[in-house]
C-alpha cells in the first residue's frame, strides 16, 4: 500500500475498508517504530487564518441559496399545516412520513412553534403537533445537507415533544423524549442556543417534579450559553424561569433579583406575556418577603397586563395574590372577596390543587374572624371537589382530614398552615402523604 495524504485523510474519515485500514496501520507502525519517528512529528503551529478565505467565500455563496430556500419553505409552512388539519391525526402522520414537501427545516420549526404556542390551551393538539414535528424532522434528516444539521432538527422536535408531554403531566414520557433530544444534540452541530433551549425545557421538567435546585442549575447553564452567544431575549426568558423557580424554592430575594435582571434582556414586543410573568413574580416575591404595600403596587401593573392578555388563569392568579396581600394588610373583607373569586375561577378552570390552596388561605381569613361554620362549609366543598375529580388518594385523604377537623371545630392556624404546605408539595409530588403532626 502506498501511503499518501489523500489515503490518510480517507483513513481519518473512516472511508477505507477494514482490510485497507489494517494495511494502513501496519505501514504507519513500521514508520513509527524507528527511533527517529518522534522527530518526524511536526510542531503544531496554528495555520494562517487568511488561508481559509476561499472556503469562507464559497460557503457564503451557498448560504444565500439556503436563505432563498428557507424563505420559500417558511412562507409555505402555515398553508401546509392548514392542509394537514383537514385529516385525522393518524392520516396526518402518514402524510408527513410519506411526502417530501413536509420534510423541511421551516415546516419542523413551524410545527414546534405551533405546539409551543398551543401550550396548555389544548394539551392533546400540542402533543400531536410535536409528534408531527418529530416525524417531519426524521423525514428531513434523509434530505438535509449534513447529518449534524439533521440531528439538530430532530433534537428540536424531540425537545418540543418532551415539553408537550410534560404539560400533559406525563413526566416519565417527557424525560424519555428529552433523553432522545439530548442524544441527537450530542451528534449535532453543537449550536449553543439549541443546547440552551433543551436545558431550559429540562429545567421545566425538574421544576414540575419539585426539584427546584436542579431546575435552577439547568437554567444557569442555559443562561451562560445564551450570554456567550449574545442571545438577549432567550437569556431574559431563562431568567424569568430562574425567578419563578427561585420563588418556588422559597429563595425570594434571589427570585426578585433574577426578575429585575430578566427585564433588562427581554424583548417584550416579541413575547408580551413575559411582561406579565415578570410582574406577577415580583409582586409574589414582595408579598412573601413581607412587603405587602410594595407588592400591591407591583400587582396593580400585573393586573393591567393580565387584563390585556385575557388569560383566565393569569387573572385568577392576580386575584389570588391580591387576596393574600389584603390579608397581610389586615383588610379581611377584601381578602375574603378576592380569595372566593379566585377559588371559583380555579374551579371553573379545573385546577383542584389551586382551589385547595386558595380555599385554605380563605379558611385562615375566616378562622381569624372566628367564622367556624363557614370554614366547615368550605372544607366540605373542597372534599366534594376532590372526590369528584381524579385526585391521588393521599391528597383526598388530606382533604378528608381538613373536613373532619373543621366539623369538630378543632382547626387551628398551625394545622391550616401545615395543610397549605402539604398541598403545595403534593401538587408536584403525586402520592405524597400528609402528616397532621407536621
Amino acid at each position: 500500500m502506498n501511503l499518501s495524504v489523500d489515503l490518510l485523510s480517507r483513513f481519518e474519515r473512516g472511508e477505507l475498508t477494514a482490510e485497507q485500514e489494517r494495511e494502513a496501520v501496519r505501514e504507519l507502525l513500521d514508520l513509527a517504530c524507528v527511533p527517529e519517528a518522534a522527530g518526524l512529528l511536526p510542531p503544531r503551529p496554528a495555520s494562517d487564518p487568511s488561508a481559509f478565505a476561499e472556503p469562507f467565500e464559497r460557503a457564503c455563496g451557498k448560504a444565500e441559496d439556503a436563505l432563498a430556500r428557507r424563505d420559500e419553505a417558511e412562507s409555505r409552512a402555515p398553508a401546509l399545516l392548514a392542509e394537514l388539519a383537514a385529516h385525522s391525526f393518524e392520516q396526518q402522520l402518514t402524510l408527513v412520513r410519506n411526502h417530501r414537501r413536509y420534510a423541511t427545516f421551516a415546516f419542523v420549526h413551524h410545527l414546534c412553534e405551533s405546539s409551543f404556542a398551543v401550550g396548555t390551551a389544548d394539551l392533546r393538539r400540542g402533543e400531536e403537533l410535536a409528534r408531527l414535528a418529530v416525524a417531519a424532522a426524521e423525514q428531513a434528516a434523509a434530505t438535509s445537507l449534513s447529518p449534524r444539521l439533521a440531528r439538530d432538527l430532530e433534537a428540536e422536535a424531540w425537545g418540543q415533544l418532551g415539553n408537550a408531554l410534560r404539560l400533559r403531566f406525563d413526566l416519565r414520557a417527557a424525560a424519555t423524549a428529552f433523553v432522545e433530544a439530548s442524544r441527537r444534540l450530542a451528534e449535532g452541530t453543537g449550536d449553543p442556543l439549541a443546547e440552551a433551549r433543551l436545558l431550559s425545557l429540562r429545567a421545566s421538567l425538574a421544576a414540575d417534579r419539585g426539584d427546584f435546585p436542579a431546575a435552577l442549575t439547568l437554567c444557569h447553564r442555559a443562561a451562560r450559553l445564551q450570554e456567550e452567544a449574545g442571545a438577549r431575549h432567550p437569556l431574559g426568558r431563562t431568567l424569568v424561569q430562574v425567578a419563578a423557580y427561585a420563588a418556588e424554592a422559597q429563595r425570594f430575594a434571589e427570585a426578585f433579583e433574577a426578575a429585575d435582571e430578566a427585564a433588562r434582556w427581554i424583548d417584550f414586543e416579541r413575547e408580551p406575556r413575559l411582561a406579565f410573568a415578570l410582574q406577577h413574580n415580583r409582586a409574589y416575591c414582595l408579598e412573601k418577603l413581607g412587603r405587602p404595600e410594595e407588592a400591591r403596587r407591583e400587582m396593580a401593573t400585573a393586573r393591567r397586563l393580565a387584563e390585556q392578555g385575557r388569560r383566565r388563569s393569569d387573572l385568577a392568579r392576580v386575584t389570588w395574590i391580591e387576596g393574600r396581600i389584603a390579608a397581610d394588610l389586615g383588610e379581611l373583607a377584601a381578602a375574603e372577596r378576592s380569595l372566593r373569586e379566585a377559588a371559583a375561577e380555579f374551579l371553573e378552570l379545573e385546577a383542584p390543587f389551586d382551589v385547595a390552596l386558595v380555599s385554605l388561605e380563605l379558611a385562615l381569613v375566616l378562622l381569624a374572624e372566628g367564622r367556624c361554620s363557614e370554614v366547615r362549609e368550605l372544607a366540605t366543598r373542597m372534599l366534594t371537589i376532590f372526590s369528584s375529580q381524579e385526585i391521588e388518594p393521599e391528597a383526598r385523604a388530606a382533604a378528608q382530614l381538613f373536613q373532619a377537623a373543621a366539623a369538630r371545630e378543632a382547626l387551628d392556624r398551625f394545622f391550616l398552615l401545615r395543610l397549605l404546605s402539604y398541598f403545595e408539595k403534593a401538587r408536584l409530588q403525586p402520592g405524597l402523604r400528609f402528616d397532621p403532626r407536621g
Partner: protein, 184 residues
C-alpha cells in the same frame, strides 16, 4: 449592582445576510486555524454553520458572536469524530496484527516489538498502559493495580491513549509522505 449576565448590545439597522456573515468572518477564520481543520473540510464546517444560521436567523441576535461560537463547536466535534474513528481503526488493527493465526510465533513477536517501539511516540504513562494492554494482553483490573489507578478509569485512560496514538501515527505518516514528496 453588578449584573449576573452580560450580553452583546444590539446595533440598529438591518443588514443583508452577506454583510452579517462577513462581520463574523474574522472570528470564524481564526477558529478554523486554531483547530487546524484541513482545507478540504473547512468549507463543510462553515457551510453547516451558515445553514444553521439561516435556519435560526430570527432567533440569533448577535451573529458576530454566535457564528464563531458555533464554528468552534463544529470544529470540536469534527476533531472528536476523527479521533474516535482513527482510535477505533488503530485499536482493531493492532489487536488483529497481534493475534493473526496465519503468522508464525516469531512473526507475531516481531510485530509486537514493532508496536512497542511505536509506543515511543507517546507519553510514559500511555506507553506503559498500552504496552500492558496490547503487549501482555492484561485485563483491566491487573492493569489498574500495576499503574496504581482505579479499574473504572483504565478503559477511559486507554481510550485517550489509543486516540493519542492514532493521531501521532497519522501525523508521522503525513510527515513521511510530505518528506518523500519533497525529495521527489
Amino acid at each position: 449592582m453588578e449584573p449576573l449576565y452580560r450580553s452583546a448590545e444590539l446595533e440598529p439597522g438591518a443588514r443583508t445576510l452577506d454583510e452579517e456573515l462577513r462581520r463574523a468572518r474574522r472570528g470564524c477564520l481564526r477558529v478554523l486555524s486554531q483547530f487546524g481543520i484541513p482545507m478540504a473540510d473547512a468549507e463543510d464546517v462553515l457551510q453547516d454553520a451558515f445553514v444553521l444560521y439561516v435556519e435560526r436567523i430570527d432567533q440569533i441576535e448577535s451573529p458576530e458572536r454566535w457564528l464563531p461560537a458555533t464554528v468552534r463547536m463544529l470544529c470540536l466535534r469534527y476533531r472528536r469524530a476523527r479521533r474516535r474513528q482513527v482510535a477505533r481503526a488503530v485499536d482493531s488493527a493492532v489487536v488483529e496484527l497481534l493475534q493473526d493465526p496465519r503468522r508464525s510465533e516469531g512473526e507475531r513477536l516481531a510485530q509486537r516489538q514493532t508496536i512497542d517501539r511505536a509506543f515511543g511516540l507517546l507519553r510514559e504513562r500511555c506507553r506503559q498502559l498500552l504496552a500492558l494492554r496490547y503487549g501482555r494482553e492484561l485485563p483491566a483490573d491487573q492493569i489498574a493495580s500495576r499503574l496504581g489507578c482505579r479499574v473504572t478509569s483504565v478503559n477511559k485512560i486507554a481510550q485517550r491513549c489509543v486516540g493519542d496514538f492514532g493521531e501521532r501515527l497519522v501525523e508521522v505518516g503525513k510527515a513521511h509522505v510530505q518528506r518523500q514528496d519533497g525529495r521527489s
